[in-house]
C-alpha cells in the first residue's frame, strides 16, 4: 500500500480523539463508573437527533449543547433511578441508556430523509472520510475533525490539570473529599459533562463504539501497569495513540493479505487497543497473569531447593547415605523440578556431587541448618502454645520454615530439642 497524507491525517485525528477520550476515561475507570461512559456515548445519539430536529441544521454548537444536555440528563436519571427507585447501578444504567438510545433511533428515523447522518454512522463513524471535510485556519487547510478533537483534548487536559487534586481525592475517597470541602457530586457532574462533550466531539469522526473503547480500554490497561495516578494518564494516552495508529495500519495492511480491500478503521482501532489490553493483562509486571504465575513458580522453586537442603541435612544428621533415596519420592515433587533445583543448588555452591552421592558443601550446610532450625523451633513453639498431636506439628512447621527470617527465629525463643526429640541446630550467631 502507499502511505498518503490522508493516512497521516486519519492517524492524527484518531490519536487526538483517543487522547481526548482517555482523560475522562481514566477517572471513570478509577471511580468504577466506566459504564457511565458507555451509557453517555450511546445517549449522544438522541441529543444530536433532538438538536437536529429543533434547529433543523447540523450546526455543531447546537449538537454539542444537545448532546451535553442529554449526557447530563443520563447521569442524573441513572442516579435518580438508583437512589429513588432502589435499583442497582448497572440496571439503572441499562434502562436509561437503552430507552434514550431507542428514542434517538426513532427520532432519527423520523428525520431520515433530511439527515445525512444515520445510526450506522453513529456506531462506526467515518474517520476514513474525515480528511475531506476541511476548514482553513490562517493559511492552513486542516480537517475539521482534527480541530474539533484537538479542542476537546486541550479542554479536557485543562480541566483535569485545574481539578487534578479534586478528581484524585474524589476518585479514591469521596468521604475525605467531603471533609476537605470538595463536593463529590459537583466533580461527578463535571466528569459527566466532559465525557458527553468528548463523546459528541468524537462521535462524528470515529463513532460511539470507538469512543467507548478509548474511554475504557487504555485506562484499564494503564491501571494494570501503574499504581500512580499521574502516570496512569500518561501511559493510557500512550496506549491509546499506539492503538489508533496501529489500528489504522492494520486496517489497511492486514485485510489485503487475505484478498480483501480493507476494513473498518474504527473497528480495527478498537481491536488493536483491545489487543494491547490483552498484552498488559498477561504480561504486566505487577498485575499480569503471566508475571503472577512466574512469581508463584519462583516461590515454588525456592521452597523445593530449601526442602532438598533440609533433606540432605537430616540425612547427614542420621549419618545415612542418600544413595538409596530419591528426592522426588521423599519430597513428593516431580522429577523435573528436582533436577532443576539440584542444578541451581550446584551452581550456588550449596551442594556438590561426590559420585554417586550429593553432599552439602560447607556453605550449603550452614543454610540447611538455618532451615532445619526454623522448622524445629516452630515445632517447639507450636507445641508449647497450641498443643496438638505431635505428628501434626510437622505439617505446619513444614510450611512456616520457608518464610522465617533470622529475626523471627530469635523471637521464637531457643530450645535444645524439638518435640520429636531431635536436636535443634544452634543459631549461627553463637
Amino acid at each position: 500500500m502507499i502511505w498518503t497524507p490522508i493516512d497521516t491525517w486519519i492517524c492524527v485525528i484518531a490519536s487526538l480523539c483517543a487522547a481526548a477520550c482517555v482523560l475522562p476515561g481514566c477517572i471513570l475507570v478509577l471511580r468504577r463508573m466506566s459504564l457511565m461512559g458507555d451509557a453517555i456515548s450511546h445517549t449522544v445519539l438522541p441529543g444530536i437527533a433532538i438538536a437536529f430536529l429543533v434547529t433543523g441544521s447540523r450546526e455543531p454548537t447546537a449538537m454539542l449543547i444537545g448532546a451535553v444536555i442529554i449526557g447530563l440528563l443520563t447521569a442524573f436519571l441513572v442516579q435518580a433511578i438508583e437512589t429513588l427507585g432502589k435499583i442497582e447501578t448497572g440496571a439503572a444504567i441499562g434502562i436509561v441508556f437503552t430507552v434514550l438510545f431507542a428514542a434517538g433511533l426513532v427520532l432519527m428515523r423520523q428525520a431520515v430523509d433530511h439527515v445525512d447522518i444515520d445510526p450506522d454512522c453513529v456506531l462506526y463513524g467515518a474517520v476514513e472520510f474525515a480528511y475531506f471535510d476541511q476548514i482553513t485556519i490562517g493559511s492552513w487547510a486542516v480537517p475539521r475533525a482534527a480541530v474539533v478533537n484537538g479542542v476537546a483534548l486541550i479542554a479536557n487536559a485543562i480541566i483535569i490539570l485545574i481539578f487534578y487534586k479534586e478528581f484524585k481525592i474524589t476518585s479514591f475517597d469521596s468521604a475525605l473529599a467531603m471533609t476537605q470541602g470538595i463536593r463529590p457530586s459537583t466533580m461527578h457532574y463535571l466528569l459527566m459533562t466532559m465525557t458527553a462533550a468528548t463523546a459528541v466531539a468524537a462521535f462524528e469522526t470515529v463513532g460511539s463504539i470507538l469512543v467507548i473503547a478509548m474511554l475504557i480500554v487504555p485506562a484499564s490497561a494503564a491501571y494494570l501497569l501503574t499504581d500512580k495516578y499521574g502516570a496512569m494518564f500518561l501511559i493510557a494516552i500512550a496506549i491509546a495513540i499506539v492503538g489508533s495508529i496501529g489500528g489504522h495500519i492494520s486496517a489497511v495492511t492486514i485485510p489485503p493479505v487475505f484478498g480483501f480491500s480493507g476494513t473498518s478503521t474504527a473497528g480495527a482501532m478498537a481491536v488493536v487497543v483491545g489487543f494491547l489490553f490483552f498484552l498488559t493483562w498477561i504480561f504486566s509486571p505487577k498485575h499480569g497473569v503471566w508475571s503472577a504465575a512466574m512469581r508463584r513458580k519462583r516461590v515454588q522453586q525456592d521452597i523445593i531447593r530449601e526442602d532438598i537442603l533440609g533433606l540432605l541435612w537430616r540425612l547427614e544428621e542420621r549419618s545415612r547415605e542418600n544413595s538409596d533415596i530419591s528426592f522426588e519420592n521423599a519430597l513428593c515433587i516431580p522429577k523435573r523440578s528436582v533436577k532443576r533445583a539440584i542444578r541451581h543448588l550446584q551452581k550456588l555452591g550449596n551442594i556438590c556431587l561426590e559420585y554417586p552421592l550429593w553432599r552439602l558443601t560447607e556453605q550449603g550446610r550452614k543454610e540447611a541448618a538455618l532451615i532445619v532450625r526454623s522448622h524445629r523451633l516452630w515445632e517447639t513453639y507450636l507445641d508449647k502454645h497450641f498443643p496438638q498431636d505431635v505428628y501434626q506439628l510437622h505439617q505446619s512447621a513444614e510450611r512456616l520454615e520457608h518464610v522465617t527470617s533470622t529475626q523471627m527465629q530469635s523471637r521464637l525463643g531457643d530450645a535444645e530439642k524439638d518435640p520429636h526429640g531431635s536436636k535443634v541446630p544452634p543459631s549461627p550467631d553463637n
Binding site: V29, R32, S34, L35, G37, D38, H42, L53, G56, L84, G85, K86, I87, E88, G90, A91, G94, I95, T98, V99, F101, A102, A103, L105, V106, R109, Q110, A111, D113, H114, D120, L123, Y124, I209, L210, I212, A213, I216, V217, S220, Y223, L224, F258, F260, S261, G262, T263, S264, A266, G267, A268, M269, A270, V271, V273, G274, F277, W281, H287, V289
Partner: protein, 447 residues
C-alpha cells in the same frame, strides 16, 4: 416518506379506525408474524430478565449482546466458505450464541485475574468485541459470494425481515425457556438471593449460573432479529425492573415481568405497523421504557408517589405529636397556653403552628378560647402518652446509655414516635412502672 418535505414535517396520515382494528387483532399476515414473534420474545425476555436483574448482571448481558456481532459474521463467513447458504438463520444464531458465551467468559476471566472491577471488564469486552465485529462485517460484505448485505440488520434489528419460521422458532424457544425456568425456579431463586444457602443445600451453583447465563444468551440471540443487538438488553431488564414496582414475590415478579414484556412487544409492534418510519425494535423498547417510567412513579411497591405519600403521612403524624407534647409541657408549667408560648417551644414556622393547631381543633384534641388553647380529654390522653414515651426514653438514655440529661431531648424527640407498645412495656420493666410525671431535665434547657 416523500422527499421534499420540510425538515420539521413529521406529520403522517392518521390510520383509519379499520386499519387500526385490523392491526390490533392481527388480521394482516405480515404484522401478525412480527407481532406474535415479538410478543413471544417479550415473554421469554421478561422471565429470564427477572433473574438476570436479581443476579445483578444487567450489563453483563449488554456486553453479551454486543459480543454476538463477531459471532454472526464469523458464522456467516464460515458458512460461505463451506459453500453453504450464508444466511441460514440457525447457523448465524449458533455463531452469535457461541461468541456471546465467549464474551461472558472473558468478563469473568478479567474480573477473576486482574484488579479491574466488573464495570471495566464489561466495557472492555463490549467495545473490543463489537469493534472486531465491525471489522469482520466490512470484510464479509466484500466476500464475492453469500451477499452479506442484510447482516448489519442485526445491529439495530429489522423486524420486517421476520418470516413465519422465525416466529415459530422464537415461540418454541420461549416455551422451552418458560419450562426450564419454572422447573428450576427454586434453585434460581436461591442463586439470586443467597448463593451460599444454595451451595449448602448441595445444589450445583456454578452449573446453575451457567444455565442462567446460557438462557440469557439464548434470549439475546432470538432478540437480535427484531430488536437488534444494541437494544436487546433492554428487553431483558426494562420489563423486569418495571415489575419490581408492582410486586415482591418471585412468582408474581416473573408473571408481571413476562406480561409487561409481552404487552410491550404487542403495543410496539402495533405502533410501528401503523405509523410510518417507526422501527419496531426501538418502539418496543420505548413502550417498555414508558411503562417503566409509569411503574417508577405510580407503582405500589416503592413507587415515587407511594413513598412520598408515606413520608408525608409520617411527617404529619410526627408534627401532631410534637404539638401535643408542646401544649402539654406549656400547660404543665402554669404559663398561659397561648399561641406564642406554644410556638416558642421549638423552632418551627408560625404558619405551621397555626395549621397544626387548627388540625388539633378539627380532631377535637384541643379547644380555643380567644388566644388561649387547652387540650380536651381526648387530646390530653394522647399528649400524655407521647410525653410519657418521650420521658421514658430520656430516662432510659440517662440511666443506661450514660448520656447527659441536657443532651437526651433531641434523641428522644426522634424515638418517641416509633415506640411501640411492646417496647414501652420493656422500658417500663426496666425503669419501673411509675407514671413519669416530671421531665428528667429542666424543660427550658433544650440540647
Amino acid at each position: 416518506m416523500n422527499a421534499g418535505h420540510s425538515i420539521s414535517d413529521v406529520s403522517f396520515v392518521f390510520p383509519t379506525a379499520e386499519q387500526i382494528w385490523r392491526v390490533l387483532v392481527l388480521e394482516e399476515y405480515n404484522t401478525r408474524v412480527v407481532i406474535l414473534g415479538v410478543m413471544a420474545l417479550g415473554i421469554a425476555a421478561g422471565i429470564v430478565g427477572t433473574f438476570l436483574l436479581l443476579r445483578k448482571r444487567a450489563l453483563t448481558a449488554d456486553a453479551l449482546s454486543h459480543a454476538t456481532l463477531p459471532g454472526i459474521t464469523v458464522a456467516f463467513m464460515v458458512m460461505v466458505g463451506l459453500g453453504m447458504q450464508g444466511k441460514s438463520m440457525f447457523g448465524l444464531m449458533v455463531g452469535a450464541f457461541i461468541f456471546g458465551c465467549v464474551g461472558v467468559l472473558l468478563i469473568l476471566g478479567i474480573r477473576r485475574t486482574t484488579i479491574l472491577k466488573d464495570d471495566a471488564a464489561i466495557g472492555i469486552v463490549l467495545s473490543v468485541l463489537f469493534g472486531l465485529g465491525l471489522c469482520l462485517l466490512r470484510l464479509a460484505t466484500e466476500m464475492p459470494t453469500g451477499n452479506a448485505a442484510g447482516l448489519n440488520g442485526f445491529i439495530f434489528g429489522k423486524a420486517s425481515s421476520m418470516v413465519a419460521g422465525d416466529t415459530k422458532a422464537i415461540s418454541i424457544v420461549a416455551i422451552c425457556i418458560g419450562v426450564i425456568v419454572l422447573t428450576l425456579r427454586k434453585e434460581f431463586t436461591a442463586l439470586c438471593f443467597d448463593e451460599k444457602f444454595g451451595a449448602a443445600q448441595g445444589w450445583p451453583i456454578l452449573r446453575l449460573d451457567i444455565v442462567l447465563m446460557s438462557l440469557v444468551a439464548i434470549v439475546t440471540v432470538i432478540a437480535l432479529q427484531s430488536v437488534g443487538l444494541v437494544l436487546a438488553v433492554a428487553m431483558l431488564i426494562v420489563p423486569a425492573a418495571s415489575a419490581r414496582y408492582w410486586c415482591t414475590k418471585i412468582g408474581s415478579l416473573l408473571l408481571v415481568s413476562a406480561l409487561i414484556g409481552c404487552l410491550g412487544g404487542w403495543l410496539g409492534g402495533v405502533v410501528s405497523a401503523l405509523v410510518p418510519r417507526m422501527p419496531t425494535g426501538p418502539v418496543i423498547v420505548l413502550v417498555c421504557g414508558g411503562w417503566f417510567v409509569f411503574s417508577f412513579i405510580f407503582g405500589p411497591v416503592n413507587g415515587i408517589v407511594v413513598r412520598l405519600w408515606k413520608v408525608w403521612r409520617l411527617n404529619r403524624r410526627v408534627a401532631m405529636q410534637h404539638i401535643l407534647r408542646a401544649m402539654f409541657e406549656v400547660s404543665s408549667e402554669d404559663t398561659l397556653c397561648n399561641f406564642e408560648s406554644i410556638a416558642n417551644t421549638r423552632s418551627w414556622p408560625q404558619t405551621q403552628v397555626k395549621r397544626l393547631l387548627s388540625r388539633l381543633e378539627r380532631h377535637r384534641f384541643a379547644t380555643r378560647k380567644g388566644n388561649c388553647w387547652s387540650l380536651t380529654a381526648l387530646g390530653m390522653a394522647e399528649a400524655k402518652r407521647v410525653v410519657r414515651n418521650h420521658r421514658l426514653w430520656e430516662t432510659y438514655l440517662i440511666n443506661f446509655a450514660d448520656i447527659a440529661p441536657n443532651h437526651v431531648d433531641r434523641d428522644a424527640d426522634m424515638i418517641e414516635h416509633v415506640l411501640g407498645t411492646s417496647m414501652v412495656e420493656k422500658l417500663e420493666a426496666l425503669l419501673g412502672n411509675d407514671p413519669i410525671t416530671t421531665s428528667p431535665h429542666p424543660l427550658g434547657e433544650r440540647g
